[in-house]
Symmetry: C2
Subunit: 326 residues, 2 copies
């Protein structure tokens, strides 16, 4: 068997760092087959599937902690699973590893995956390793959802509520602090950097799946993702003072004069959910979120006039859609 | 929306080149959702899943025809699906694209995918695009198989037959001609180069799934893949003159004196199947293969003594296991 430079063969990596993640589930063949079986036991459920990749120098810095990379690849995918109203079931990993990846890195990366698996209840079904000059991590996630539910991103009616979970902008502030574009006090800096390095998905989706019309996660920024949902069919009227910013973000706004709400409307990587639902279900949805201690805000409604409109004047000319492909 | 250098945004690429591959199947949401639904209508079937990646400068040359790259990424995955006894159902694509990828490339790549989809009957479920400095194509394939079948790669008995489909070594010869390690006449050169550039999976798997004990595709070479199957449990006795070489490969052996059967025992990328089955099913399996015009050879049997043994002397000291990760 040939070995790569740092003496790690594919088999050693799988046995030492990834076998612990299959939780000995039937169908994974303990990673000794080239494929796996995937069968939802409950016949009332169907599978949802999503896939996403993150790359060195685009979605993370080359010296980022492997725990952060594990957190990001699971969050981008879990966020899509939850936005489909599904609960996570299992996943595949495609790792493209440069030579500098060593056993410490693999240990830290796989241990963080194990923690996240435990938190949300899913397991590793299989994957693929290859060499690369840059680190790229792709993952395909499977979720389960009742067969009768089908959540479209762009199926809704005039006057429907537009709600979002969590706050916007915190990950963007963290990235700008890391890029030394500005700085606050040490504690605030670390708070925002952690929001960027360790994003969390919002698991409200499956709990409200039966009460909503459409749902999508905010990965490319509120305006960009909402525009995708509107799909040129209707428009949205947003109430600016309802767009949720954390108390800490408001502190930054006070502190940094050239920072305004406009700066956060297309901030990516916050991973809240945009929910579009009939007004009659508003209280039900708010009550489910409140019970789970998930911040939720009704920020506007669907209107006939196409495009995104605000109830007060905003200077939007410099807002560009966030595009992960760019 | 930001654009990449060559003016192709993610949306344009998806709409222009990949939407035609979803065959308007329900559950793909016409690629307007971040995820897809995957539901086998026939309750007697379950899903199989496999994932594999190919990378520029490792699995293909940077100037290879995009049709060849489309052929390779589908073959490596379809081959695993067939080896699990399953029939292809659908797939996901993760494309990591460098800036030089243009519309001609995308057109040619996606048209070849469409041809292969049509040949085997499957569709594109979704995917993910990102930028990269090298071209990397990852894909996750789904297959369907009757719930009662479960094909392990390493479950068999003493004296079981070892059969393989197709010929070994042709892809390796093609690669060596491309690398200018040697040359034959123009027609033979082109024949072997095509075997390397346009490999085909062997679709016998689902037809014999109920008659076999174990199955695996030959992607890393006969010895390497058979060793994986044996898994340190039993051994194999192989009959050297039964190991299948094509007439054209035998011509090369006559022509090139330092080429021997040993050179092909770990030749990768031929994508035949290794089948281990009870002797009593031999005729049934041979007859199914013959009906489909698929070459099949019984090359040996499972024995007690561990390792791989041959019925005549071979010089194996220079044979290294082929490892795609290296």
């Amino acid at each position: 068997m040939k070995l790569i430079k740092n003496n790690l063969s594919e088999k050693i990596i799988i046995n030492k760092y990834f076998k612990k993640l299959n939780l000995k589930k039937r169908g994974t063949f303990n990673f000794e087959n080239d494929g796996a079986y995937l069968d939802l036991k409950n016949k009332k459920y169907k599978l949802t599937v999503t896939t996403d990749s993150i790359s060195e120098d685009i979605d993370f810095f080359s010296n980022d902690d492997p725990k952060s990379i594990a957190q990001k690849i699971t969050t981008v995918n879990l966020s899509d699973i939850f936005a489909m109203g599904a609960s996570p079931h299992s996943y595949l990993l495609n790792l493209h590893l440069p030579n500098h990846i060593n056993e410490n890195w693999l240990n830290s990366f796989s241990n963080q995956l194990k923690k996240i698996q435990h938190k949300y209840g899913f397991y590793l079904l299989g994957g693929d390793l290859s060499k690369s000059n840059k680190l790229i991590v792709s993952s395909t996630f499977f979720g389960s959802i009742k067969k009768k539910f089908e959540i479209f991103q762009n199926k809704f009616n005039l006057n429907d509520d537009i709600l979002i979970t969590g706050n916007i902008g915190e990950s963007k502030i963290g990235l700008e602090i890391l890029k030394k574009k500005f700085s606050s006090n040490v504690d605030l800096n670390q708070y925002f950097i952690n929001k960027y390095l360790y994003p969390n998905p919002c698991n409200l989706g499956p709990l409200i799946a039966s009460h909503i019309n459409s749902m999508k996660d905010i990965s490319d920024g509120l305006i960009g993702d909402l525009t995708d949902m509107l799909n040129g069919k209707y428009g949205a009227l947003l109430r600016v003072n309802k767009i949720p910013l954390s108390i800490k973000t408001k502190k930054i706004l006070n502190f940094k004069n050239n920072y305004k709400i406009e700066n956060f409307l297309n901030a990516g990587d916050d991973y809240g959910l945009i929910i579009i639902s009939s007004q009659k279900n508003r209280n039900k949805i708010l009550s489910i979120a409140n019970k789970k201690n998930i911040k939720i805000s009704c920020i506007g409604k669907i209107i006939k006039e196409k495009g995104i409109h605000f109830d007060s004047h905003l200077n939007l000319k410099n807002i560009k859609k966030f595009d992960h492909f760019c």
